[in-house]
């Protein structure tokens, strides 16, 4: 298996799907001639040309809406938001058109669109550029939400997302673009709605998604090495659909859980998982399920402090120790 960057894994997914289906088209700001602000679409415009890989003006509402409209006629647009943060200006198109048009038409219209881009803090770009919308978007029935943590997952999930006939919100991470993972040469797909047990364990379950899953893995290593605690790490990968079975099975085994996310706490993904565990694992729990999220304030710019605003391995370790 080749060791490749997260961005290149995505790039391969686009390239393969562009080849597979002539209705797939990539669009967004700087995705074509500039190769993408983060070079995720590098070389694709050169290879596939203007028709399949297209630069847009800085008009997120209109170009996301254009993608939605095109998808209604059978095009399969893969739309880049240079940052998911900029979805705020296209919010209406996503929430009211992509998510609702199938329903309001009684199932007559489909919207096979992928909206993608990085959604993360931690890069010192300030509050307006560091939003993580996965809890908002997964609240909306009609949307699917995916947050891959590794290159392998990113490629397999992206290919599936492009083939999915529902609108998929695909959240990448600028801090991961340059990280490398093993990715097979042969084609593979990863279903939406399947969590990945990234580490097996018996004493406690750490549930996370996106980059927080990697932070949880690091915490699990420390817990094993320094505290003799065996933590199971579940990477949700997809937030909606959600792999509830995997969550329940693990917690029923370990009887304890800590939920980690880089989102803000109030009504975050962790709140939803906690409420599921409350309802379905009440008698299985030996301790309260605890949550860690980013410190509850807008993303601070100061590099020194933003590092501390997001969950770190030792924050997780401390929470775990408080209930183990």
């Amino acid at each position: 298996m080749a060791l490749i960057e997260y961005r290149d894994a995505l790039n391969q997914a686009f390239d393969e799907e562009l080849a597979r289906d002539e209705n797939v088209v990539l669009m967004g700001e700087e995705v074509a001639q500039y190769d993408g602000a983060y070079k995720v679409t590098k070389g694709l415009w050169k290879k596939w040309g203007d028709k399949r890989v297209m630069d847009t003006p800085i008009s997120e509402a209109a170009f996301i809406g254009m993608g939605i409209g095109a998808s209604m006629l059978g095009i399969r647009p893969v739309m880049e938001l240079m940052f998911w943060s900029f979805a705020t200006v296209a919010w209406d198109q996503i929430i009211n058109n992509a998510a609702q048009v199938r329903y309001m038409s009684g199932g007559l219209i489909n919207c096979p669109i992928v909206i993608r881009g990085p959604a993360n803090g931690g890069t010192n770009v300030g509050a307006t550029h560091s939003h993580t919308h996965e809890n908002f978007l997964a609240n909306v029935p009609g949307l699917k939400v995916v947050c891959p943590a590794t290159a392998y997952d990113a490629k397999g999930l992206m290919k599936t997302a492009i083939r999915d006939n529902d609108p998929v919100m695909f959240m990448e991470n600028t801090l991961l673009y340059g990280e490398k993972w093993e990715v097979p040469e042969e084609e593979y797909l990863i279903p939406l709605g399947k969590a990945d047990v990234k580490r097996e364990g018996t004493d406690i379950t750490l549930i996370a998604h996106g980059r927080a899953a990697l932070t949880a893995l690091r915490a699990a290593e420390i817990l094993a090495a320094e505290h003799n605690i065996s933590a199971e790490v579940i990477d949700l990968r997809s937030i909606r659909p959600l792999d509830e079975e995997a969550i329940l099975a693990s917690v029923r085994k370990t009887h304890r859980a800590v939920l980690i996310e880089e989102n803000k706490p109030f009504c975050g993904v962790g709140a939803q998982i906690s409420s599921i565990l409350m309802e379905k694992c009440f008698d299985d729990l030996d301790a309260p399920v605890l949550r860690i999220s980013s410190i509850d304030a807008p993303a601070i710019y100061s590099p020194e402090l933003e590092r501390k605003q997001l969950p770190r391995p030792l924050d997780i370790v401390a929470k775990v120790l408080s209930i183990c």
């Binding site: 939605i68 489909n110 529902d166 509830e244």
Partner: protein, 365 residues
């Protein structure tokens, strides 16, 4: 608004002589009239049924504007598409949807065009190239762009007509769309149905413009025009220019069509025809008397010898009966099952594909 100075004044030009109209057969002309009357009667019936408590939510009717939807729909070929806002019954009937599925939708019945899920603002018929029916003001304008984009992508010679009201022109995504339409040479036709009011606000109180709203497109290097919406011949002639531009040059157009609505904004609007309201009763009467698209066209067809008063009465009677019958159909139709609330949310779940069966999609328990 001065009731005399508007461009809805009957034009000096005889648009019946425009090639697109001159080649109409008597039958085709009667079809145009019939379609307008169908809209009028459907709307009257729906107002009646609304008053009788048969539906919920809002009801925005199209009375007074019939020449626009009918005229535009009549120009559509196999690859031409239409999308509009919430005042959409006229467009729906114009493209050929039947009264039963429309009335049943208003009643919230399972037999409605959207299975009772969309309601008055959300009629759809993709099989007739009709993409709704959208409730968020201006929200359909990027979708219209997307339809045009898809047509061009697929290499077919089609146009996407995207309608909006005079109030909707102040939603920003429209201008983003105009820029992209012009920049990418997309065959979209933005049509402003300017009925002079957005709810209780007159055009003058909501918009700053030069000669008209459509002229705003000029700044995006886009062709624009304004015409009156009283005479369906004029509507057809004006829209046809834009259609040809879309088909032959793949260039967009913004077209403003002046019109008028007889009813309030919705059935909940009590201020549209009362003293102290936002418009005088005389104004409404003026339009009904001088600019009614059905009366005007009827008179033309009688003058052309295509129609008699008696034939018209028969026609109208038949259509009224059709409308009344649609209310019976709607009334007798079943409500959707409660289980249907969570259907039509996800394609993959509805089809129970592998994807639809993987993971939890709904979270009530």
């Amino acid at each position: 608004m001065a009731t005399s100075a508007k461009s809805t004044d009957i034009s000096k030009t005889d648009f019946g002589k425009s090639p697109i109209n001159a080649r109409l057969s008597a039958e085709q002309k009667l079809k145009l009239l019939t379609d307008m009357v169908r809209i009028r009667c459907f709307e009257n019936e729906s107002v009646r049924q609304y008053s009788a408590g048969k539906m919920g939510g809002f009801l925005h009717v199209y009375n007074g504007q019939e020449a626009i939807a009918t005229g535009c729909a009549s120009l559509m070929g196999d690859d031409d598409h239409m999308i509009t806002a919430y005042r959409n019954h006229g467009h729906a009937l114009g493209v050929g949807m039947n009264m039963n599925e429309c009335m049943a939708e208003l009643f919230g019945k399972a037999t409605g065009c959207s299975k009772g899920k969309g309601g008055s603002m959300h009629f759809f018929a993709p099989d007739k190239n009709y993409w709704g029916g959208h409730g968020i003001v201006g929200g359909q304008t990027p979708l219209g762009l997307g339809l045009a984009y898809a047509l061009k992508y697929k290499g077919v010679k089609g146009a996407a007509m995207c309608f909006m009201g005079d109030g909707a022109v102040n939603q920003g995504c429209l201008y983003e769309s105009l820029n992209m339409a012009s920049l990418f040479n997309l065959p979209v036709i933005y049509i402003i149905e300017n009925n002079g009011y957005s709810m209780g606000t007159s055009l003058e109180r909501s918009s700053a413009f030069k000669s008209c709203l459509a002229e705003r497109a000029a700044g995006f290097n886009m062709e624009w025009a304004q015409c009156a919406g009283t005479d369906i011949y004029e509507v057809r002639a004006s829209v046809q220019v834009a259609m040809e531009r879309a088909h032959n040059e793949s260039r967009p157009t913004m077209l403003e069509i002046d019109t008028y609505r007889y009813y309030g904004h919705s059935t909940a609007d009590a201020k549209h025809n009362v003293v102290g309201g936002y418009r005088e009763r005389e104004e409404i009467d003026f339009y009904k008397k001088n600019h009614d698209p059905i009366n005007v066209f009827k008179a033309k067809l009688i003058a052309e010898g295509v129609l008699t008063e008696e034939q018209f009465d028969t026609l109208e009677e038949g259509i009224k009966a059709e409308a009344a019958q649609s209310a019976v159909f709607a009334d007798e139709s079943p409500y959707p099952e409660v289980s249907s609330i969570t259907e039509d949310v996800y394609y993959e779940v509805d089809r129970q594909t592998e994807a639809g069966r993987t993971g939890k999609h709904f979270f009530n328990d």
